[in-house]
Amino acid sequence: MEIAYKLINLLPQIDEIKEILKSNPEGEFILKKTFETFNGIQKQKPSTSDSDDGVEECYFLVQALLDKFWEVIHTGHFSEVPLDVRKTYALASFCKIIFLLLESMEKSQIEKCNEVLDDAILLGCSQNIFSNEAKFMNLLTELFDSELDPTVDLQLPIIEPLPRSSVDCDILRLDCPSLEEFNEKCFTPQVPALLLNTIRHWPALEKWRDLNYILKLAGNRTVPIEIGSNYTTDEWSQQLMKIKDFLKRQFSQPKQQSPNDDKHEIEYLAQHELFEQIPLLKNDFSIPDYCLLGEHKEMVDIKAWLGPKGTISPMHYDPKHNILCQIFGSKKIILASPKDSDNLYPHEGEFLSNTSQINAASPDLEKYPRLSMVKFYDLTLQAGDCLYMPPKWWHYVESESPSFSVSFWWE
């Protein structure tokens, strides 16, 4: 309860968020009423039955607002959803957390609060709303860390380092190139390269192999997970789930193979901005200096790729410069130049036009005869290695073991 009152104290005055609410009168109506109710119970604790009614009604209203704005946020392109809508969603989520904590402080309730906060971060926009927001978030994070330790119920393995294999590599290999060398040999001429020994100093290489470390820092957080080995197949889907559930299913040993669940589906934490969500993990690596080359060097997208053996990203290309860094495990990678795009049979339609229809691991030359004209480059990315891919280079990526990679995209 005490914490709920502390959180109420940190909430903004309605005037501070007036601008955000200006364009959504329903949000203004509901949040204004809720803030008034909060102020009321703050003044007259312990609560009276009168204020209980108010609390109950406001909780209902806040939930309705969240449900309504969930619809608004899921309409149209996410990037075009007005920021005010997403900020209002975050504010309403903060109110919901307070209602939940006023109701009870049981573990299951705190878990619910954790989910609501993730929702506020993933769907809403929880930054630059009010002056105390950092304090508000810290208070909650402290609560979650102390009450919900996912390592209590779950023990995960430590991934053993693989012996380094000396496999063929069809592309340029550079041993910890200087910025100038990288610029001259890779960045300017747009040549892909395997960069060796450039991230040896990252603490992540040692720390993240212990999946319990990731579990402890990130286990309760909700992330989008891809289900099915390959995003072009019909069976593929994506859903939000907690990292601890994903880790448990994909990495805990022995793999639970109950009779009803013989079809063990591959799940992949892919292309997710995990480090925005869990900044503590950012301390374990740094942005490669090579990203300084480029016009928008301050805008580097950092994405996490964590999955078991057998995750596949089919042959596709991305519009930005890309450095893919392997933290643990190894990945088989096949590259092709943008010059060969016409012979790689991209999917038709707006959304998969950057993805080839072919299976690069075993190309079907009868079905796709022009593939015989394509020059493919094979390589294996091992722990501690980085792969530089210039914009629009085609790449196929398959994990050969449990694997964690971090990618840096920049322009």
Binding site: E26, G76, F351
Partner: protein
């Protein structure tokens, strides 16, 4: 006991009803769902009306948005709910001409009059009624050659509107000469022989049903709601090929999904199955979900046909209506089935389930099955009946 004043089931709250003044063409309305802003009924204080109750509205046309309900009767329009930040507010509007059709979204209500003019009423702003002018775009009309060989491009003229529909991110109008407007910009013109039967909108897509049973789709199809087999955006109406050739008799859209009924009595649904609104199961097992997006129309069966005891009787769907995340089906026998989100009681099911991802029996109208009209709003369902109706409650549930 056919008809009669006693025929309203006893659990209605009917005290306030003046049963004698029902005029011809007016409907009585039953409603369930989200009522936080007093939009369904000022006499029912519940925030959620869990099961259908008669509400104090008499209207020939009715629409329900998230925060308000608009009811038209002749030349008058009544809007109630959250208006200008006040709940349980009411606003009365008189039109110069009889109201032909209503459409609405969160921000505004569209009013189409019999004379083909359209007005827009902003719900949360004070600036009242504004006429919406639709002007033809000459590039869509065949150019007449004058005797001197010059093309006489008739300058853009105001178009009389026949049908309107809107969602939060889209507004569509169909002109008397088949002009199609998205917003107030003409994007297409159907050939003369195409006659429109229904025009509906979801949050961001539009569907038109023609009299010969084809469906055209356009707008944002990011969640498969266009039914065109791909995720994408269409600026102009595109025929849904997957069910072309099957005569469709009724369509619906309101959120991110679309629904249709064929002359054979098949139900088709497509789009986003976030809450089971397609009548398709959501979970593979207890943790893993099925894909939620269906880009082509799916035939969906009512698995448990429990409306009529007589197994010989052939019950089949005849009409369909959709809310933001739910779907209601009306059968030839007068029964109503529902699927989708029920967190705010929008399905009218007597249980408190949060959703149902298969069609469930809700209720049945015995006497006036030909006069029943289902209007699903955002998080509501409203059923209009022209005569006092006898309703049967499913005791099995």
């Amino acid at each position: 006991m056919e008809g009669g004043t006693e025929s309203i089931a006893c659990n209605y709250n009917v005290d306030h009803l003046a049963t004698s003044d029902i005029k011809h063409n007016e409907k009585r309305w039953l409603a369930c769902g989200f009522n936080q802003f007093g939009q369904l009924s000022k006499f029912h204080d519940e925030r959620i009306i869990r099961y259908f109750k008669e509400i104090d509205v008499r209207a020939t046309h009715l629409i329900s948005s998230w925060s308000y309900v608009a009811a038209a009767n002749g030349c008058s329009l009544q809007i109630r709910g959250l208006i200008n930040s006040r709940t349980k507010s009411e606003k009365l509007i008189k039109a110069e001409n009889e109201i032909k059709c209503l459409a609405g979204c969160d921000r505004y209500c569209l009013i189409l009059l019999n004379n083909g003019t359209v007005y827009k009423y902003g719900i949360q702003c004070e600036d009242g009624l504004k006429e919406v002018i639709f002007q033809s775009n000459e590039s869509f009309t065949p150019k007449n050659k004058s005797i001197f060989g010059k093309t006489t491009s008739a300058c853009a003229s105001k178009v009389k509107i026949e049908k309107i529909a809107c969602g939060n991110n889209i507004m569509i109008a169909l002109g008397l000469s088949n002009e199609v407007f998205t917003g107030t910009t003409q994007v297409h013109c159907f050939p003369k022989h195409v006659r429109s039967k229904q025009l509906v909108c979801g949050f961001e897509h539009a569907l038109m049903l023609t009299h010969n049973g084809d469906i055209y789709a356009w707008g944002n199809g990011l969640r498969g709601q266009l039914g065109l087999g791909v995720i994408g955006v269409e600026e102009k109406p595109v025929l849904i090929e997957a069910i072309a050739g099957i005569k469709i008799i009724c369509i619906a859209a309101a959120g991110w999904h679309s629904a249709a009924i064929s002359a054979f009595g098949d139900i088709y649904t497509w789009g986003f199955n976030s809450n089971g609104q397609l009548g398709i199961k959501m979970y593979k097992n207890c943790t893993i979900k099925e894909p939620a997006i269906y880009v082509v129309p799916q035939v969906v069966d009512i698995m448990e046909l429990t409306c009529c005891d007589n197994k010989e009787q052939d019950c089949f769907p005849t009409k369909i209506a959709t809310g933001a995340r739910h779907t209601m089906v009306e059968m030839n026998c007068g029964a109503v089935y529902a699927a989708g989100w029920n967190a705010y009681g929008q399905l009218g099911l007597p249980n408190n389930e949060l959703y149902t991802d298969h069609f469930q029996y809700v209720l049945k109208f015995k006497n006036c099955k030909d006069n029943v009209e289902i209007v699903s709003g955002s998080w509501n369902t409203l059923i209009g009946t022209r005569e006092s109706s006898k309703r049967e409650i499913n005791e099995n549930i």
